[in-house]
Amino acid sequence: MAVVFEKTKMLTDAPLHYCPGCTHGIAHRLVAEVLEEIGAEGHVVGVAPVGCAVFAYNYFNCDMQEAAHGRAPAVATGIKRVTPQNIVFAYQGDGDLASIGMAEIVHAAARGEKITVIFINNTIYGMTGGQMAPTTLIGEKATTCIYGRDAEKNGNPIKMCELLATLTGPSYIERVALYDAAHVRMAKKAIKKAFTHQVENRGFSFIEILSSCPTNWGMTPEQALAFVKTDMQNFYPLGVFKEVTE
């Protein structure tokens, strides 16, 4: 019998620990499929974050390092610098990347490290139970802003793609979302483009993925995807923010 579909070999068979309706699983699969398609097997190292994706080293079927909270771009820098033949990627959430790890992501991008960073933005600290993230929307409720984020009390959310696009070092920056099949396909294209930039040694590449967190948002999976499509997408517009073509 002909095989019409196979799970990518760049994912292990370990059962994912993510909650029902969470889009981490889709993001993992897209990254893994792209790694397979660009032929990265046998010369790739991934870096896992602290947060919901902390166990990513159990899922990506390649050499992996687990970083301290926010430090994945620094760890990836170290790996890439000593093994430039490898594809090196970091997979980080919004608390990890845009809060505690802000210095590391900005400077890895500014240096133009030849790494790819996958940034999962679900506007919340998932693993620790729903605290406000640096990307939490104004008015959005979290366990540390129970009446909704108030700019006066809690500060304002950060747009990472826009921020990083001001730098010279990045060669590719795009924001995508995972709320329907069409956008999942677009996300995969973006991820592939980002890794291709690394393969071609162009510079730092960065994909922000708007993701859902039904558990901590207190929504059904369907409602959560609708929130990504409306509220999140309104504040975090999709698109290419930087592309160096030569």
């Binding site: 010369h43 190292v45 902390v54 079927n61 050499d63 992996m64 620094a74 170290g78 610098r81």
Partner: protein
């Protein structure tokens, strides 16, 4: 042939000759000559250098590079080393061999930029969270810095633990004639099967990790590391004794201070006083048995611990001598350094 070199530069060159091919660091006085030297020298030998955005980033770059199997190092001074403690804890748990140089300056806080030994507890007891140790050397001359650095990567690799060279501002800044060893041949080093060098596939892939969320796994890991530390203590403990055969008063000091204490011993011997010196070269593992043996000698009446701190190593000296003989303390701190005559005056009056 001997060359006249500054301590910091000699350490950097010795590291390269010992196989270092990557350096990650952030500027801080009094160790800046190390990154400055590395920033051009490493590229001459096909290595890499990153001036990181912080010491927090430096130590994590080191984790990445050494996790991928490279011989790499960082250097800093006290406040910067404090910032690295989180990373050092992760590195120790993940068993990633690397080398860290601390050219200690006066503390706490921003402290000062003059020589001090106030980081002894942090270096030897584990300055970050959790149960761990590093191998910590306290060299007392530029030549000893070179010799220790040259072997440091081999020692780190052997046990898969970080090696720290605990110097001080004076050791980094002083110029002395040194004999530099030849470039090590790196082609015959044992393969690091555990390293995430990118070639891992499927079942044979490697994971560098410090998350052991199952309590039994974490306990087993920590207990295993205890056996590694025991092995290190058995094989790597180093110290020097000077004129202790008939000594009644035994001075003890490490690093730069041990040189000053040695001069003090010479002065006191010339005055007819029976004084000797024991100097730990590894401050972790601490040479407990050598101290205990001295403490059990009938001729030894007491110890005087000399430090550039308010008294840190003295706790290890007291533990090692098991209360068999009194241990007195003489120290300066804040960046002030005692002279040999200061030690002689203390011993003459108090001991």
């Amino acid at each position: 042939m001997k060359e006249l070199m500054k301590g910091n530069e000699a350490i950097a060159e010795a590291a390269i000759r010992g196989g270092c091919r990557a350096f990650f660091g952030y500027p801080i006085t009094p160790q800046n000559e190390i990154p400055e030297y590395m920033s051009w020298r490493l590229f001459e030998v096909g290595g890499t250098f990153v001036q990181a955005e912080s010491e927090v980033a430096s130590i994590n770059m080191l984790y990445g590079a050494c996790g991928a199997g490279a011989r790499a190092m960082t250097s800093s001074s006290s406040p910067g080393i404090s910032l690295m403690q989180e990373g050092i804890s992760y590195i120790c748990c993940a068993q990633v061999p690397c080398v860290i140089v601390n050219m200690v300056r006066g503390g706490p806080g921003l402290g000062g930029i003059q020589p001090a030994q106030g980081d002894y507890f942090q270096a030897t007891k584990g300055g970050g969270h959790g149960d761990y140790h590093m191998i910590v050397y306290g060299p007392s001359s530029v030549q000893e810095c070179v010799n220790i650095m040259y072997e440091a990567f081999d020692v780190a690799d052997k046990y898969r633990v970080p090696v720290m060279i605990l110097g001080d501002g004076m050791l980094g800044q002083i110029m002395e004639p040194v004999e530099l060893p030849p470039m090590k041949d790196l082609s015959n080093l044992p393969k690091k099967e555990w390293a995430t060098d990118g070639t891992g596939k499927g079942k044979d892939r490697r994971i560098i990790n410090s998350l052991l969320i199952n309590p039994d796994d974490l306990e087993a890991h920590n207990n295993y590391m205890l056996t590694v530390y025991e092995e290190i203590a058995k094989n790597e403990t180093r110290y020097e004794e000077y004129m202790t055969e008939d000594a009644e008063i035994v001075l003890t000091a490490y690093g730069t201070v041990a040189r000053i204490a040695k001069s003090a011993v010479n002065i006191m011997r010339a005055n007819g006083m029976k004084v000797g010196l024991i100097r730990p070269i590894t401050v972790y593992p601490f040479p407990n048995k050598a101290y205990k043996d001295l403490a059990e000698k009938a001729s030894v009446k007491e110890f005087v611990c000399v430090e550039l701190s308010v008294g840190q190593m003295i706790e290890d000296v007291k533990l090692a001598t098991e209360g068999k003989k009194p241990v007195k303390f003489f120290g300066r701190n804040g960046g002030n350094v005692m002279s040999p005559e200061d030690i002689v005056a203390y011993v003459t009056k108090e001991a």
